[in-house]
Amino acid sequence: MRNIRLSVPDNAKSGDVIELKAMIRHDMESGYRVNIQGQTIARNILTFFECRFDDNVIFSADFHPGVSANPLLKFHMRAQKSGTLTFEWTEQTGQIFTKTAALAVLE
């Protein structure tokens, strides 16, 4: 269970460029740190992010060990019609974390 915070405008006018923001709680353990016993802490990071509007991918990103904990992404899209935005992160373990938001576009 991960908490995810999204920022999506409640509504937009058709043609508007809107900003989308997404943050997920994740340690992004780099695999380069050691614990107080000197043992390496195993890597566990998110490796991939994708944002879809209905079924179309509008943004995606690969993550690497240098990405900070609790990564925040900001990106833009042009609002054209109402639909559902899906924000999806994939962990190296294959586990997927998803949250959706509705976007209402006024004519």
Binding site: R25, A69, L72
Partner: protein
Amino acid sequence: MIRAFGIIGIALLAGCSEKPVDEAAFGIAPENIRSGYEFLTAETQALQNDDFANPGLLWVQTGQGLFQDGGCAACHNDPGTEFRSVASTFPALDPQSGKLINLEGRINLCRTRHQSLPELPYESDDLLALTTFVKSRARGGTIDYQITDALQPHFAAGQNYFYSKRGQFNLSCNQCHDENAGAKMRGDTVSQGHINGFPAYRNDWQTLGSSHRRFEACDIAVRADPPALGSQTYLDLEVYLTARGNGLTSESPAIRR
């Protein structure tokens, strides 16, 4: 020298009944009190100012979920508007046991006394989240923490800890946070060491932590053997530092380097 007067001031005051916090007990004049926020770079300040980008709000979100689903909202209003003054009222003495409790301790008392649940361990994720949620309700308020007669011994013990040299480096808290605030230390700028931002998200920790974790980090930095988080020593120190920050704005969850 100033410090010596401070300690005498406290000793004298301990004799009378009604007293405001004695200004001489602090190494910084009230008009010069500055939040750790003011010692941050513009970029780190921007992160704290942005109510979306501040990762501390992830803990507020988790805490609110625990508050609603964990039975707290059965007795307390949701979303916790009644907690608006907690930054000025804790640490406090629990009337039932007479023990000094901070916000973490208060939440654990609610669990053990009112919910028959076990205490959450200090610095555990759930306790941090609940504490940050409750404390976030006080965000933006001015801290006005009164040292009552009953709190006086705790205040004095905390002050004593703040002025005692310790560790292999033989440094006391005030040597850095009163006498060298604003100076550079390695890549960092030393602040006045206030706790108005805690629980706070530290970029260095890549996570959120309590004021006690910060005390521990400073104790370890001078190579002292730190007391346990939640210990009486750190609770007393929290009393002293809360009063020392009177007049500051409560910023939790703040962002710190």
